[in-house]
């Protein structure tokens, strides 16, 4: 019934041997593929079918105090082509058949026409596009890659895609955009175009908040139409967006202030001008104008020296605006009050050999401290200032925040120079430092001094950034109580004297703001030439605050070398316009009672 082999054992043996050999071969191959060449083959397989794709994290926005966007990230595109492929011949394209509108015919489009079409879209001529192809091929006959346009916007990108040229590829390239142009451009800074590296301003100093992180994913795609195969996506690195940086600046006010400053700078032919608007009770900066101002959308259009914020980076000798500080120091030390009397001539020769002159001639005048400020008498100020020791005055300057960088920590901020310490002051400097010469401060430091006087003698830390909100949460700058610099009495009496300056000074009709009480002081400072002498031009300034009965806002204006109007009359209108705009914008109620009377002479 059943056929059986005569040698069953032999058959089984042969079969077993064959099996062992076969399995052996399989095992060897398996080890070879899975272990010996595993990583190499893996890479090959991935390369063949999966593409690494960069997922861009968006760099954080910079917004103003009201949330208006000052800087944001947009997607731009670099257009590249393959010169090698371009030269391979005409491109076939489907067009509606002229004979039968329902059908399409394939037409061959020559390179010249394609190049002209592409050029028209990206703003080149056809010849220029062909030139790029030719140049790339001359460099390398096998060239497969050349950029034809960089950082084109979305509309151009769509237009390029619509052309559907097989050898043209667009690449994503995140870019930065500043919708308000030069508004706050001095503060924002800018990025390098090609790699997005922050180069200046807040973009640089607050990069920790703003910086994003790009991620990477790979996935497999179908060979023909590049459709992503489901379930093959591998996230190698998560992308992270940057945080949103909120400033204390108000964009509308900043625009207004920049406009006024630039208008006046051009009118008086000045080198540059800065205007600082600060909240008197908090030290928050509402506007910081530096003109000329960079438009960060196009940094190259602005001269290199004008691309930053001089408010922070350009120390100067402040001149007479500094007298308010000396007066406050004198009152704080109990060595005088607004009615203290001296008799000052136009020249004062103190015993130590210094030589102090006023900017105008006058005979011996019976000044009160108020009168010294109204007439801005250097000799009178010297007689009050010498009632204090140099060390006392120096300590007060430090308490006012001079000689060191402000809390803002702006990139490239300068600390100013108090001419070393009192030990290094020579006889002339000892007196010059009483009325703001022989030492340097930045514009923001002067604004901070006036903020201290406006705030009853309490200096608040200067702030430009309100906070940074990231996906992880919100960080807010800690609120400081501020530090007392001079007594409230000294601050209030100085304010009262500065009100008289505003009402009786020689610019009284130029800076009048009807309805408000204002405290202000002018300055016309000589500018060191860097070799121990002074230039012929002046730095003219006005600093002050309003309303004087309950100070809310500090405005400080500095104009460098106004050749057509070399006095603080150049800065007064700016102060007037900016201050009235600030009062109007923030709905400040006009003052009621008039300023207290203080006699200027006795």
């Amino acid at each position: 019934m059943n056929r059986t082999s005569r040698y069953p054992m032999r058959r089984i043996l042969v079969f077993a041997v064959v099996m062992v050999v076969l399995v052996g071969v399989f095992i060897v191959k398996l080890v070879d593929v899975q272990i010996v060449r595993a990583s190499e083959l893996n890479v090959q397989a991935q390369d063949a079918r999966s593409v690494p794709v960069t997922v861009y994290g968006a760099r954080g926005d910079i917004v103003d105090a009201g949330g208006q966007v000052l800087a944001d990230t947009v997607m731009r595109y670099d257009i590249a082509l393959s010169p090698k492929q371009a030269m391979k011949g005409p491109v076939t394209r489907e067009q509606p058949d002229p004979a039968d509108p329902d059908k399409t015919i394939e037409v061959e489009v020559p390179l010249e026409q394609i190049a002209a079409e592409l050029g028209a879209v990206i703003g080149l001529t056809g010849d220029q596009v062909q030139g790029i192809i030719a140049a790339a091929l001359a460099d390398n006959a096998d060239s497969d890659f050349a950029f034809v346009a960089k950082l084109v916007d979305t509309a151009t990108y769509e237009a390029v895609k619509a052309l559907d040229i097989p050898w043209v590829v667009p690449y994503e390239h995140p870019s930065r955009r500043y919708p308000n142009g030069a508004v706050g451009g001095n503060l924002l800074g800018f990025l390098r175009d090609d790699d997005g590296e922050p180069l200046a301003g807040l973009e640089l100093s607050e990069n920790d908040c703003l910086a994003s992180e790009d991620g990477e994913v790979t996935y497999l795609h179908s060979l023909k139409d590049w459709v992503r195969i489901p379930g093959t996506e591998v996230v190698h690195k998560e992308a992270h967006d940057g945080g949103t940086l909120r400033l204390t600046i108000d964009a509308d006010l900043q625009f207004f202030v920049q406009r006024i400053a630039e208008e006046q700078r051009r009118a008086v032919g000045a080198d540059w001008a800065t205007v600082t608007v600060m909240e008197a009770k908090t030290g928050r900066l509402l506007a910081v104008a530096d003109v000329p101002t960079i438009d960060p959308n196009d940094p190259a259009a602005t001269a290199e020296g004008d691309r930053g914020s001089r408010t922070f980076t350009a120390p100067f000798e402040p001149g007479s605006t500094f007298k308010a500080l000396t007066a406050a120091s004198v009152i704080n030390a109990g060595k005088g009050d607004p009615l203290s009397r001296i008799t000052a001539d136009y020249r004062y020769l103190p015993p130590n050999g210094a030589n102090i002159n006023d900017s105008f001639f006058h005979g011996p005048t019976p000044y009160t401290l108020t009168g010294v400020l109204i007439d801005s008498s250097n000799t009178g100020m010297s007689m009050f200032g010498e009632r204090l020791t140099d060390q006392q005055r120096y300590d007060d300057m430090l308490k006012f925040g001079l000689g060191e960088r402000t809390e803002v920590g702006f990139s490239g901020e300068e600390p100013g120079d108090l001419h070393g310490s009192p030990g290094e002051w020579d006889n002339q400097t000892k007196y010059a430092t009483m009325f703001g010469q022989g030492l340097t401060t930045t514009a923001v430091q002067i604004a901070s001094v006036y903020q201290t006087l406006a705030n009853g003698g309490v200096r608040m830390p200067v702030s430009l950034v309100d906070g940074c909100s990231t996906a992880d949460g919100e960080t807010t700058k800690s609120v400081s109580e501020g530090s007392r610099v001079v007594s409230e009495k000294a601050a209030d009496e100085t304010t009262a004297m500065l009100e008289r300056v505003y009402l009786e000074g020689w610019l009284a009709d130029k800076w009048e703001i009807p309805g408000y009480r204002v405290a202000a002081k002018t300055g016309t400072a000589q500018v060191p030439d860097g070799q121990g002498g002074y230039l012929s031009g002046y730095l003219v300034s006005v600093s002050g605050f309003a309303p004087a009965d309950d100070p809310e806002f500090v405005v400080s204006v500095s104009i460098m070398n106004p050749v057509k109007m070399n006095s603080s009359a150049a800065s007064a209108p700016v102060f007037q316009e900016v201050m009235s705009q600030v009062l109007k914008k923030y709905r400040t109620v006009p003052s009621g009672a008039p300023a207290p009377e203080l006699p200027a002479t006795w």
């Binding site: 960089k150 151009t156 769509e158 030069a182 208008e263 009807p514 009235s580 006009p590």
Partner: protein, 196 residues
Amino acid sequence: MSALPAQSIPAPRRAIDRLRILRPASEVARRAKPRLAYAIIAVAGVAMIIVAQMLLSIAVTQGAYEVDAYQIAQSKLARQEQQLREDLDRVQSPQYLAANAEALGMVPNADPVYLRLSDGAVLGQPSAADGVARSTAPLVPNALIDGVPLVTEQQTGETPRQGNTPGAAGNAGGAIPAHAPAPPPVDGALPTPATH
């Protein structure tokens, strides 16, 4: 918990009794028929599994194409949204607003006046603004609004957009065609009301 003891009750004895009375059945009767049925069931099962697998696979693949189409539409819409946002940001920049206000003949009044509602008192000194409209456009430059037409220069109902003008900022060496094509028609496009 209460269900457990019930399950552990031993099976009834009857099963064992039935086992005892089993006896061999005739070989032919027991084997011939079931063999074919099993084979058919097994083959049909395998075939069904294969078909189901294929259908699932087709569905997933079809889904991938759908997902891909939606992703393309989404990125198109995202680009469109970005473009519109850029246009909006441009036209709401202070420079553009100020230039428009000036073009319409508006002038700023520097003297604030307030009316106190509690007693009707007028705070501040009212005065007329000086009637000179100043051109402040170049004072605070904004490369993004170069060439964007002011309200006074536009046709009624036209929304200003930079796409209409060549020489856009921010694209080194690039420019926008004189006649920008309308945004690509996408399913579920952003509704854009005609503004007048």
